[in-house]
């Protein structure tokens, strides 16, 4: 949506063993950026962010982000970094230097996700004026994770600065050989909703309503259901618009997991990075629906089957929302209508402020 600026910048890995090694690589990288007027962003373990901020003299241009709030899902990390970079640039910085630590103390499945994330960042953030260093404590890495870190960073950070990494592998290749499907088993049961023989895009409003109704009956947090419904709607739209009819939708809504497959009879596409790069400026923009769908669910896979092309979306649910208690039930002041009225009051204030400025 926002136009991108600047060429692709550095995406380097730092494999360190001591806090001193970490600081000796990070501080020159960040200090050089600050000297050029760039913004410095830290997304590390709390103790390492504090260490680096102190080493940089607590420069007020340093932005410290909570690592746990960023490295939640690939799409969220990309969205956060895009916003941070754009806001720093809008505030006058010519670029941003990011120093982060991807969490690796996780299960194999979750490492696969971050392995894929590191590969995707090369493409998704490439157009932004961003140079980033991803720091990993070598002592915590298995050989497999070490290998994954190396193949997803075009450069390695050394005491002498960044050097080209000859073990770097093209991101699409990494994505094609790493799995995304998490165990769940939802599809072993009859679907909660099945819509078949679809070929008419004018039915989209009705089809969305049926998907929403099936999800509403599943329990689980409303926000996650709403996000999932938006993702399904975009994928269904794409299938009806770009795929070959008939299209089929199968939805499984369990207390712990939402899964949906959208299958058309065409050949689909063969780009594992589709939806990870911001939509183009075409009219209509290519990729806007997948860009949204990637953000709105946990995993989105696309693959050819014997009879067509399937997009499979999945989102894990943390558990059902507890029933409202007397104290948590919507008070008159907190109904959707009341919240909307508060938003309108805020908007009137903003409108007055803007009119005064103009």
């Amino acid at each position: 949506m926002t136009s991108t600026t600047g060429p692709a910048r550095l995406h380097a890995a730092l494999l360190y063993r001591t806090a001193q090694e970490l600081a000796s690589a990070a501080v020159p990288f960040l200090a050089d950026g600050l000297a050029m007027g760039e913004a410095a962003v830290l997304a590390c373990r709390e103790e390492n962010s504090a260490l680096l901020a102190e080493a940089l003299g607590h420069d007020e241009r340093i932005l410290v982000l909570p690592r746990e709030g960023i490295y939640t899902r690939t799409a969220d990390a990309i969205a956060t970094f895009r916003r941070v970079v754009r806001r720093q640039v809008a505030a006058g910085a010519p670029g941003v230097r990011l120093f982060g630590e991807v969490p690796v103390d996780q299960s194999g499945d979750e490492w696969h996700e971050w392995h894929r994330c590191e590969a995707i960042l090369n493409v998704a953030l490439g157009p932004l004026p961003l140079s980033s260093v991803c720091a990993y404590d070598r002592r915590e890495l298995s050989d497999a994770i070490h290998e994954g870190v190396e193949e997803t960073h075009p450069a390695l950070m050394t005491p002498a600065g960044p050097v080209p990494n000859h073990r770097y592998v093209d991101p699409a290749t990494v994505l094609r050989r790493t799995p995304t499907t998490l165990a769940g088993g939802a599809e072993d049961t009859p679907p909660t909703l099945q819509l078949v023989d679809l070929d008419d895009a004018t039915r989209l409003p009705e089809l969305r309503a049926r998907v929403r109704a099936a999800l509403d009956g599943s329990g689980g947090p409303g926000l996650l259901r709403g996000r999932f419904a938006a993702a399904v709607a975009e994928v269904l739209h794409n299938a009806l618009r770009h795929g070959r009819p008939p299209v089929a939708v199968r939805l499984w809504a369990t207390p712990t997991r939402l899964v949906c497959t959208v299958t058309d009879s065409g050949d689909g596409f063969d780009d594992p990075l589709a939806g990870y790069t911001a939509p183009g400026d075409g009219f209509p923009p290519a990729g806007a629906g997948l860009w949204l769908a990637r953000q709105a669910c946990d995993t989105l896979e696309a693959f050819r089957t014997g009879t067509g092309f399937t997009v499979r979306l999945a989102t894990g649910l943390p558990g059902s929302e507890p029933p409202p208690t007397p104290s948590s039930a919507a008070a008159p002041a907190d109904t959707p209508a009341a919240r909307a009225d508060r938003a309108r009051a805020d908007a009137r204030q903003l409108a007055r402020r803007l009119r005064k400025q103009l």
Binding site: H237, G289, L292
Partner: protein
């Protein structure tokens, strides 16, 4: 969005309304609601239509939908004029003022654009629409212009929407005027995104530097339409204008934030979840 005849039609059928219909069923449902509204308010209803098969003419169509149109004709409350009399050379003010002179408190007039094009050129139709828009502001009257969606594309759609910005009625999307500006209703997706775009383009040509767009009654916006929102208002914003997207429902707000609409220069998303 197009009225259901089982419900009492309301104020959404007053003022200068653009009925964009996909099917004849949609058109007749909207027309029936609009007539019922006028009959309930005791207004004079003036209609025109092309020469039709007897069963397709207005009165039998209304009768088949439970409206006592024959009685309204008998009482002089409903009249069907040929297009030449509906669009007189002197302009429609004459038609409306003549009806008001009969003692009616208000008048409503309606036609299919096909009927207009049977006696007017396309340019003349737009001239009539502009004058009608002004007339609706001057006189106690409502007007509903019926356009087939399939025939309404490009500049023809843009021009039609521009004279009915606050009165667009489409099967899943509509607009209205609220206290602060423009209010949108319904769902926006590829099936109506051209209408959505035309509405925003027209609204952003109004002489104000703050465009208020109330989204409280919008339940869905797809990704492509977020881009159209950007495109339709870009010129306005680049000239220093500000667009306020007010009170979006949580799913709409979420979609707009994921699509980074709120990051666009001059675009302000004033949501309920912030």
């Amino acid at each position: 969005m197009v009225g259901d005849v089982r419900e009492a039609p309301g104020t959404e059928w007053d003022g200068h309304v653009l009925l964009l219909h996909r099917t004849e069923g949609e058109r007749l449902a909207g027309l029936t609601a609009w007539v019922r509204r006028g009959l309930e308010l005791g207004e004079k209803i003036i209609y025109t239509e092309l020469p039709l098969l007897p069963g397709d003419a207005l009165v039998p169509v209304l009768e088949a939908r439970g409206v006592d149109a024959a009685a309204a004709v008998r009482d002089g409350q409903l009249v069907v004029l040929p297009p030449e009399e509906f669009y007189p050379r002197e302009g429609q003010r004459v038609v409306v003022e003549r009806a008001l002179a009969e003692g009616f408190a208000a008048v409503r007039i309606s036609a299919e654009v096909r009927a207009a094009l049977s006696v007017l050129s396309p340019d003349a139709v737009h001239g009539v629409e502009h004058r009608l828009d002004a007339l609706v502001g001057d006189l106690p009257m409502s007007a509903m212009c019926q356009y087939a969606e399939a025939d309404s594309t490009g500049t023809w759609l843009d021009d039609a929407v521009a004279t009915h910005v606050f009165g667009v009625r489409q099967s899943t999307f509509s607009t209205s005027r609220d206290l602060d500006g423009l209010a949108l209703h319904g769902e926006v997706d590829r099936t109506n995104t051209d209408v959505f775009t035309a509405v925003l383009s027209a609204a952003s040509r109004h002489p104000s530097l703050v465009l208020w767009v109330d989204l409280g009654e919008v339940s869905y916006v797809d990704a492509g339409s977020c881009w159209r929102l950007d495109d339709a208002t870009r010129g306005f914003r680049s000239s220093g204008g500000h667009v306020l997207l007010v009170a979006p429902q949580p799913p709409v707000e979420l979609t707009m934030r994921m699509l980074e609409v709120d990051e666009l220069p001059g675009m302000h998303l004033v949501g309920v979840e912030q």
